[in-house]
């Protein structure tokens, strides 16, 4: 009797140890963020200065915004390769609206919209591009990879076409046209925090709320987890999927606006390759590329891990080549840990069951 009770205790003890390990694995993105931050703080004094943190956050905001849109797409079981190009296109659209206005030859006038109008029109273009992605995917049953790959080229081509490959520079507007103030989006701040960071926070909070509390959010998870079940449960799968790509397009357009404003210029190659960093942030944040599993919160933290890592390596004077190698390794390692955790969860479940037998 005594013996059995001690073994019981031992088992219970080992269980708690496993539980702790599980907790660490589950919070691994956060853990990774803490580790990289601490390492860089030790290696380079001043890394944790407020000014530096704000600079890093500004860099992160770009990727996090794209990542938030991408999380919706990946949760639903898709992928969006076109976001980088949509960033470029939106930058060019915004630049064109400020520089050239809207030409209406019929009336022989050129309308220069207010900056807030420019922002809204640009966002609408982003949403439209996403809608086209969504429609091609849902109506014509094209694989998301292919559909958005096509859009990657088309949107980039349109971005170039907008000004024949030239940059729209000096986007400060003209007081006589009433369209000044675009640079504020990139340079201004609210309570000492840059607008871009504020926007990231707002997007993240709204997206978190949408995924957790809106029927649409649950539907996205369900579609990624099991499309057929979602369909048979009355979820309007096609509509949801289309919206998901529209959200991604919206986020990309927002990023295009922020970058154009920060540079006070719009270049057609803006955002090249951004889609991959966004996917990396999503994956690093624990979202499964198979769909159905993951969170907005994870993606934001994932974007921070990449941001801190990149900026930290720059501060320490690592070459871009080494930066790339480290970035790549971290991303793959994150997925390896993900798989290990899943397998461990399974095993623990079985062990618990065995104990109950």
């Amino acid at each position: 009797m005594k013996e059995s009770s001690t073994t019981q205790k031992k088992r219970v003890h080992s269980m708690t140890k496993i539980d702790l390990l599980q907790l660490l694995l589950r919070g691994r993105v956060f853990l990774a963020l803490v580790i990289v931050t601490v390492v860089f703080a030790l290696l380079s004094p001043g890394f944790l200065r407020v000014a530096n943190i704000i600079i890093i956050s500004k860099h992160v905001a770009i990727n996090a915004l794209l990542g938030i849109g991408m999380t919706f797409v990946i949760l639903s079981g898709g992928i969006d390769l076109s976001v980088g190009s949509i960033v470029g296109l939106s930058a060019m659209i915004a630049g064109g609206l400020i520089k050239e206005g809207i030409q209406l030859p019929i009336f022989g006038v050129i309308v220069f919209p207010h900056i807030w109008m420019v922002i809204i029109l640009t966002l609408i273009v982003g949403i439209l591009m996403g809608a086209i992605n969504g429609l091609v995917i849902t109506r014509f049953k094209v694989a998301p990879f292919i559909a958005t790959l096509g859009m990657l080229y088309v949107a980039r081509g349109l971005a170039g076409l907008r000004n024949n490959g030239y940059t729209f520079s000096n986007l400060i507007g003209k007081p006589e046209y009433g369209n000044t103030g675009f640079e504020q989006l990139g340079a201004g701040c609210f309570l000492g925090i840059d607008y871009s960071i504020c926007i990231m926070i707002i997007f993240a909070v709204v997206a978190y709320f949408v995924t957790m509390r809106l029927p649409f959010g649950r539907h996205v998870y369900a579609i990624g987890g099991n499309r057929r079940t979602a369909e048979l449960s009355g979820v309007q799968v096609n509509r949801c999927e289309t919206i998901v790509y529209m959200i991604s397009g919206l986020c990309a357009a927002m990023v295009g606006l922020i970058i154009a404003s920060q540079l006070v210029a719009a270049h057609p190659a803006t955002g090249t390759g951004f889609e991959l960093t966004a996917i990396a942030a999503v994956v690093l944040g624990g979202t499964s590329l198979m769909g159905g599993r993951g969170s907005i919160f994870g993606t934001v933290i994932g974007a921070f891990v990449i941001g801190v890592l990149v900026d930290g390596l720059v501060v320490l004077g690592f070459s871009t080549f080494l930066q790339n190698i480290i970035k790549g390794t971290v991303i793959v390692a994150a997925v390896v840990v993900d798989q290990v955790q899943l397998r461990m969860q399974e095993r623990i479940r079985l062990q618990k069951q065995e104990l109950n037998l």
């Binding site: 987890g225 057929r228 048979l232 449960s233 479940r349 079985l350 065995e354």
Partner: protein, 523 residues
């Protein structure tokens, strides 16, 4: 010693055993699939394995062919313990399996399929001629006159089965496992398969034969083993036993205790279906002008063989098939439109394959339950889901259906089959349906859970729900239904009431291919 023969007819302990398992146990999340199973397989014999769905047959076979590792226990071949960590290992020991869903590549030829993974190479290049020759020889041995260059996609199921057997033989299989080999075959194809099996036996090959069709099993088997709920409950030589014995062992409890029968009042017409039709891809109809009615508080059983069009009928009703035509009235109001509309109107479906169609395995129990009724759980402004409402709804259903789960937020995948099924039922009930359609609701769940599902059905019927209950199990249909429709090839070929139906009648109607001509068609 090995040759000594006992005088009585019970299994000779010294008989020549080629393969056996010792205390094999397999745990899956939420269930014990196999519990201390000592399975014996006799050399050069046809060893049949029977058991209800979820009894553990497939799991046991997966362990024998290296597809699954057992949690505990040993596999012993010719007296020596062997370690099977992959199908390749098992093949090296001469153990091959032919799965129910044939694992052939339809885009490759017969010869390429036979030698897939063990291609005959000549200096690194596939020797097509030799493969062709050997494939031809194998096919001849199996009495098939097919060109080995034929694409597998062009073959009928029966011929595809022969190809998988040829594939196993090409790998020098000594032990051949056949999992439900006849489920998709026509009568003549079954006969041919049996001839092939006898021929294999004559060549000294040991066959393990899994089937649901008990008459088949008794016809072809030498030894029989019965599994129930993961336990090996009986084994004997087939000549010593009869059908009654097998059924008793398989079900393991008196039938009348499994089923739940309660008087419930049958009310006015609830659902009226007129001329429901679904054309099938290969011409003809999957659902052929079907009409029926169902009343409040009535359990309508639909019986038929696989492919009779029962699941398709339910799909038409729920609106997941856009090609369907026909009219449906629920409480006198015509229903049409997409799935969402129909669910809102009061139809709910519990699909046949709960893992594929019924559940989102990556989501929690709670999220699965509310998936189809999120709109009901919105706050007053109709904007977001109110967690209080969500929790209340989920907890109520968990209690009402006695779903065994410690935390509603745990992943649904960790539940046992029976509890998963109850989650799907809970999801359907939360949409507040008037007619609940259950497609094979007892498939792959243990006897206790079956009993509970039947209890739930009865309870719902007394509450006035109309219930459509599709099942392939005769006993279930007969015991649970107030009325029974039998389908065959998309047509209703028989209509019975609880008191008039017999097993024989149902079976006869289910193989009736000319229901209309025989004048049994509704109206």
């Amino acid at each position: 010693m090995g040759k000594s023969v006992l005088k009585n007819n019970s299994i000779n302990e010294d008989a020549d055993m080629i393969l056996r398992t010792e205390n094999v146990t397999k745990l899956f999340p939420g269930t014990v699939a196999l519990d201390l199973v000592n399975y014996k397989i006799y050399r050069g014999k046809i060893n049949v394995l029977v058991g209800e769905n979820g009894a553990g047959k497939s799991t046991l076979m997966k362990i024998l062919v290296g597809n699954e590792k057992c949690t505990k226990g040993k596999v012993i071949l010719e007296g020596k313990e062997i370690n099977l960590s992959s199908p390749q290992d098992a093949m090296n020991y001469g153990i091959s399996i032919i799965y129910q869903e044939l694992d052939l590549c339809p885009n490759l030829s017969i010869a390429e399929n036979i030698f897939l993974g063990s291609e005959i190479v000549n200096r690194g290049v596939i020797d097509k001629k030799k493969q062709h020759e050997l494939a031809q020889k194998l096919l001849q041995r199996l009495e098939q006159k097919i060109d080995p260059n034929t694409l597998v996609s062009e073959l009928r199921v029966g011929a595809q089965q022969i190809v998988t057997i040829a594939k196993a033989l090409s790998q020098d299989a000594r032990i051949l496992v056949m999992d439900e080999p006849t489920s998709a075959l026509s009568t003549s194809e079954v006969e041919r398969l049996f001839r092939v099996i006898y021929e294999l036996k004559e060549h000294g090959i040991t066959v393990i034969y899994i089937s649901h069709k008990l008459d088949e099993v008794l016809h072809i088997g030498d030894y029989i083993t019965v599994l129930r709920d993961g336990h090996l409950v009986a084994e004997d030589a087939v000549k010593n036993i009869n059908m009654q014995w097998v059924i008793e062992k398989m079900i393991g409890r008196k039938l009348d205790r499994l089923f739940v029968s309660k008087k419930h009042k049958i009310g006015k017409v609830l659902l009226h279906v007129e001329d429901l039709t679904l054309p099938s891809v290969g011409g003809g109809y999957s659902v052929n002008h079907v009409s029926f009615k169902i009343n409040e508080g009535e359990i309508l059983g639909i019986y038929g063989l696989k492919g009779a069009g029962r699941s398709e009928l339910l799909e038409c009703l729920i609106g997941s098939n856009v090609l369907a035509t026909g009219k449906i009235w629920l409480e006198g109001r015509e229903i049409n439109g997409n799935i969402q509309n129909r669910i809102q109107s009061g139809l709910a479906l519990v699909p046949e394959d709960r893992q594929r169609d019924g559940l989102v395995l990556t989501m929690s129990v709670a999220n699965n339950i509310i998936l189809a009724s999120l709109k009901r759980l919105l706050n007053r402004l109709g904007l977001f889901i109110e967690s209080k409402k969500e929790k209340k709804a989920v907890n109520n259903l968990i209690k009402e259906l006695s779903i065994k789960v410690t935390d509603p937020n745990s992943i649904v995948d960790s539940l046992s089959g029976g509890n998963q099924q109850k989650v799907v039922v809970a999801k359907s009930l939360l949409t507040d349906p008037k007619v609940l359609m259950l497609d094979e609701p007892t498939r792959g769940i243990d006897v206790g859970a079956k009993h509970e599902v039947f209890e739930i059905m009865q309870k719902l019927a007394t509450q006035g729900y109309g219930i459509i209950f599709v099942s392939s199990e005769l006993k279930e249909i007969l015991a649970m239904s107030d009325r029974i429709l039998v389908m065959s090839k998309g047509v209703i070929t028989g209509k019975f009431t609880k008191d008039t139906a017999t097993e024989a009648q149902l079976v006869n109607a289910s193989v009736d291919e000319n229901g209309i001509k025989n004048g049994v068609k509704h109206k």
